[in-house]
């Protein structure tokens, strides 16, 4: 039961109850769906890129506390961040939630994750890891999808 308290920490429950950036930005350059057909979690994510900087980001949709708080914390962390910072954060986050049960996670790594570190407990729940990473995959889809459509634009020209 202690793993349960580890998973459903106050911070996560609080983000679940009042998610940040839970809104469609007025202007955006990239967007994508994040959908888990197995459990039905479904979000849409929008972001506005100014050069290399994520100047605005928001999401909407529904799902479990883990997926929603993860999306909320992710958008909070990424607002104003550069693309390379975002990539670095994702890699760190991913490595933490994928750490094998029983393996040590360095204290410093958790700290670098900021509030997202609260989701480290999800690694004790293999069935829930995809909930924690759903928003990140949507973000990735948004970024790569538009790159593709940009390249077809170039080809057309």
């Amino acid at each position: 039961m202690s793993e349960l308290n580890e998973l459903y920490q106050q911070l996560i429950l609080e983000h679940n109850k009042t998610p940040r950036n839970f809104i469609k930005p007025e202007q955006f350059t990239h967007d994508a769906d994040g959908y888990n057909p197995l459990c039905g979690d479904h979000y849409h994510i929008w972001l506005k890129l100014d050069g290399e900087t994520i100047s605005d980001i928001g999401f909407q949709g529904s799902g479990c506390a883990i997926s929603k708080s993860s999306a909320s914390m992710m958008t909070s962390a990424l607002k104003g961040a550069s693309l390379s910072q975002a990539k670095e954060l994702f890699e760190k986050f991913h490595s933490v939630i994928m750490t094998k049960i029983g393996d040590e996670i360095p204290e410093a790594t958790i700290e670098e994750l900021g509030s997202l570190g609260a989701l480290a407990g999800v690694r004790e729940f293999p069935a829930r890891i995809k909930c924690a990473s759903l928003a990140w995959h949507a973000l990735n889809a948004a970024l790569t999808k538009t790159e593709k459509s940009i390249s077809t634009e170039i080809e057309k020209k």
Partner: protein, 418 residues
């Protein structure tokens, strides 16, 4: 066998649950260091020793291919395989063994009918009727064949309790309706549909009927001739048998007219490169080496169920459902999804502040296995305006004590999320 599973008291048949539970080795496992409370029986049921032992005996002592060997083992395996077919025929009261076709499961059975009936009888402009509470496996195969044949799908709507609207159904029946395919007991709502009435109305209209009996066979007595359905499908794994085996019942007169679904060995009488003559029923629809161990295991499962008796099972499960419904209704912030008057042992619910997925995880850590999600019935979720439900589904080896544990588990969810 009958007597040691039952106690006769006050003229009422009560099941000896304590002894029954001993027949299912998995029920005494610990999950996260607590006794397993298995309430996911609509997804799949657990297997009694009788089934496990029978499959073991088959592989250890009888394993051979069937219908094609003259040697001793092949004859034994063929005999056991066909004996199981007879058990199933009797179990659902079909008229003849040749009306019992072995498939991989409910999904495979519906696909067989959709394809074979569809290719034989569906023309452009024809209509197929299904209901608003179908499992995806009774939606998608019909969509696929309708698209291929240029036919159209019509949907019987339901009310807020999860009951089909028969008046609307009557309006949907037209000369274009070739087949009606509906679920007997809804896996996400628990509704027991008035299938006899549905069949009667369809027949009056000259339409055929398929009944998806996946959730029915383990919980209520099925008599296909009394129902007068044209097709009836179910899965072995939902009636305490193995996975990968299922049954399609079809009226012989209809099956005989239908084109084969898959071609291969066993389903032919003679093959030349110019022409193939198809085998008789049921083999026409059983191409290739079948799931022999699965069939024999399913036969054992049916013997086991018969030993306890479906009337006693149904009565006991109704008492559990009644008890569980009362308990859940008393939980503040909990809403039951599926409140039909005629209901089987399925308790689907949502909680005000907690998502079903989180409910599932928190219950799991307390040893309680339920299912969360859309239960392969996304249109039902859309109808009720919810993304998912948490679902506890009952079998005759469950107890009131386990339902008490479920309620304590839900209270823990509320503690975390309030």
């Amino acid at each position: 066998m009958l007597n040691n599973k039952m106690n006769i008291s006050e003229n009422k048949i009560l099941l000896d649950i304590e002894n029954i539970r001993k027949d299912f080795p998995i029920l005494s496992t610990l999950v996260h260091s607590t006794p397993l409370v298995y309430l996911d029986n609509a997804a799949t049921t657990q297997k009694p020793n009788a089934v496990l032992d029978m499959q073991n005996v088959y592989y250890k002592e009888q394993n051979a291919n069937i219908h094609r060997g003259v040697h001793h083992l092949s004859e034994t395996a063929t005999f056991e395989y066909e004996k199981a077919r007879g058990k199933i025929k009797n179990f659902i009261n079909a008229a003849d063994n040749k009306e019992i076709i072995f498939t991989a499961g409910t999904t495979a059975g519906i696909n067989l009918v959709a394809h074979s009936f569809g290719k034989t009888f569906l023309k452009a402009g024809d209509e197929v009727i299904i209901s608003a509470m179908e499992h995806h496996s009774n939606i998608v195969p019909w969509q696929m064949i309708c698209e291929e044949q240029g036919a159209h799908l019509r949907i019987i709507p339901m009310n807020d309790d999860g009951e089909l609207l028969l008046d609307e159904y009557k309006k949907l029946l037209t000369p274009k309706t070739k087949i009606v395919s509906v679920v007997y007991i809804s896996n996400s709502l628990g509704t027991i549909n008035p299938v006899k009435k549905i069949i009667e109305l369809a027949h009056h209209n000259g339409s055929k009927v398929l009944i998806d009996g996946a959730q029915a066979v383990a919980h209520t007595k099925v008599d296909v001739r009394e129902l007068d359905c044209d097709f009836f499908v179910f899965s072995g794994h939902k009636i305490f048998g193995p996975t990968g085996i299922g049954v399609l019942y079809g009226k012989a007169s209809l099956l005989e007219q239908m084109k084969p679904y898959q071609g291969g060995g066993d389903m032919i009488l003679s093959v030349t490169f110019e022409k193939t003559t198809f085998n008789d029923l049921p083999y026409k629809f059983e191409a290739g080496t079948p799931n022999i161990a699965g069939v024999i295991g399913l036969g054992a499962a049916i013997d086991y169920v018969n030993g306890i008796g479906l009337d006693a099972i149904a009565e006991y499960e109704q008492s559990l459902l009644h008890y569980g419904t009362g308990l859940l209704r008393s939980i503040k912030g909990l809403r039951l999804i599926g409140t039909a008057k005629e209901k089987a042992g399925i308790l689907s619910f949502v909680l005000e502040n907690a998502h079903p997925h989180d409910i599932g995880t928190i219950l799991d850590r307390q040893g309680i296995a339920i299912r969360t999600g859309h239960h392969c019935t996304q249109p039902v979720m859309q109808r009720f305006g919810i993304p998912a439900t948490a679902r506890a589904s009952i079998s005759f080896y469950n107890t009131k004590t386990e339902l008490d544990v479920l309620v304590r588990g839900i209270e823990k969810v509320k503690e975390i999320f309030e």
